[in-house]
């Protein structure tokens, strides 16, 4: 079965948008937290989101340029 590059690209975009949402709210939450333990936990969510962003960036480069929008 061949991979539909266009569908893959769209899915990655959607995933990207979700990560943007997670990252933004995690950072907003971080700004309002005073509890150090909770702050540490939020940092982990942010780190996870940033790592996921980097993975998507790598995947995007794997898709042939002609297939990118």
């Amino acid at each position: 079965m061949e991979l539909d590059l266009s569908k893959t690209r769209n899915s990655l975009h959607q995933l990207n948008n979700k990560i943007a949402q997670i990252l933004a709210y995690a950072e907003l939450l971080q700004l309002s937290l005073t509890n150090e333990k909770e702050k540490e936990r939020i940092k982990l969510i942010i780190k996870g989101a940033l790592d996921a962003r980097d993975i998507i960036a790598v995947l995007m480069t794997e898709i042939p340029r002609s297939e990118q929008g």
Partner: protein, 470 residues
Amino acid sequence: MERTKPESILIVDDETEFRNAIVAYLAGEGYQVQAASNGEEGLELLKTLPFDILLTDMKLPGIDGSAVLQGGLALYPELICIIITGYGTVESAVEVMKKGAYDYIAKPFQLLEISHVLQQALEKRRLKEENAYLKTQLKEKYKIESIIGNSKGMQEIFQLVETISSTNSTVLITGETGTGKELIAKAIHYNSQRKDQKIVSINCGAIPETLLESELFGHVKGAFTGAHQTRIGRFEQADKGTIFLDEIGNMSPSLQVKLLRVLQEREFERVGGTETIKVDVRIIAATSAGLKEMVEQNLFRSDLYYRLNVIPIQLPPLRERREDIPLLARHFIKKFCGNIETKTVSQDAMKMLMSYSWPGNIRQLENAIERAVALLGLRNIILSSDLPHEIQNSKDNFFLSDIFIPDEGIDLNDRIAVLERELILQSLEKTGGNKNRAAKLLNLKRTTLIEKLRRFDLEKESATEKDHFA
């Protein structure tokens, strides 16, 4: 960054949750934030409200970010547009930047990133606005009408400046120190077609000869000890604009040759370099030295002199345009009092200002007024005692302190006769009535003095001495 009035931002993004997060963050940062979920809505908001910043996603349902940007810029050319883009659309974001976007930011981004981008964009706009304001101020300051001088000589110079500003001809401004040579050079520049470009000034007399060449023409890396990197000179800085070479008479013979080539060909090489640099620059030179005499004494190249002296402007010393002193004094008082016009000069002080010979010209007058204003305290009138000692004690004051035209006017011949009689009396007093010596003191022939003594009925005053010495 400190903000007085919050900047307004319009965010256009179809991702509701993401959009709300950005709105919440930027509102917390002190911005006035409005949001739209698609391009059409964004454009409608732009039509009803002026925004400082447009932050729009590139991919939108309906019209895309590029169309919103173009619509926004058409409404407000100063609008700062920042594009939010996904990974796959970076290339198209770059295309949008060519259409006028300030920057783009790739999604997902951290909140601090957007904060930095916004601050940088606002700072850039602030600098741009400040630059435009300062340019307007400079143009206003150097408008011919803003330069003070009602005397006939100055009026003729203003006329000449207006005529020659539109040309590209080289100008040579001569005049004593402090007569306003640089002011006239700037007036020429800011009234010319080059006014939006730079005027670069350099005082050839203030820079050691060894450094002047590199200052004027620049140098290449390694040209001399300490030339760690290639540096452009003043001529290159002034490209498309004007260069003002003050105290040109102080230039060494070798530099005179190089300058001559620039004047003829508008080209030169940087110190230590081989590449010929071409510049489009108008040259305005100035000197307080007698260049013509220097040419006669072989201290200044005659070919350079004639190349520079295409349009000569001779600025008169202040003592030859005394009628401008009250105007200039008023201008400087206003300048040093922060534009408050309640301070004036007493009649006695004005008489002193009018009669002083002003060897330092307008610069000296400006300093005298600055000092007087500083000494004023709560008073509103500058007294003669507020003026510098050299002006208060000047012998010019004894000679001219009574020369002042009252509102009702004077009889010139009568006033001159009174002055003449007074000087003749003083000469007789000084010489004990000796007409030979008195005539010598006045640089007159003895017979002329005797004739004047008869006319002024002063024969008695010289009679005693005449009996003994004549």
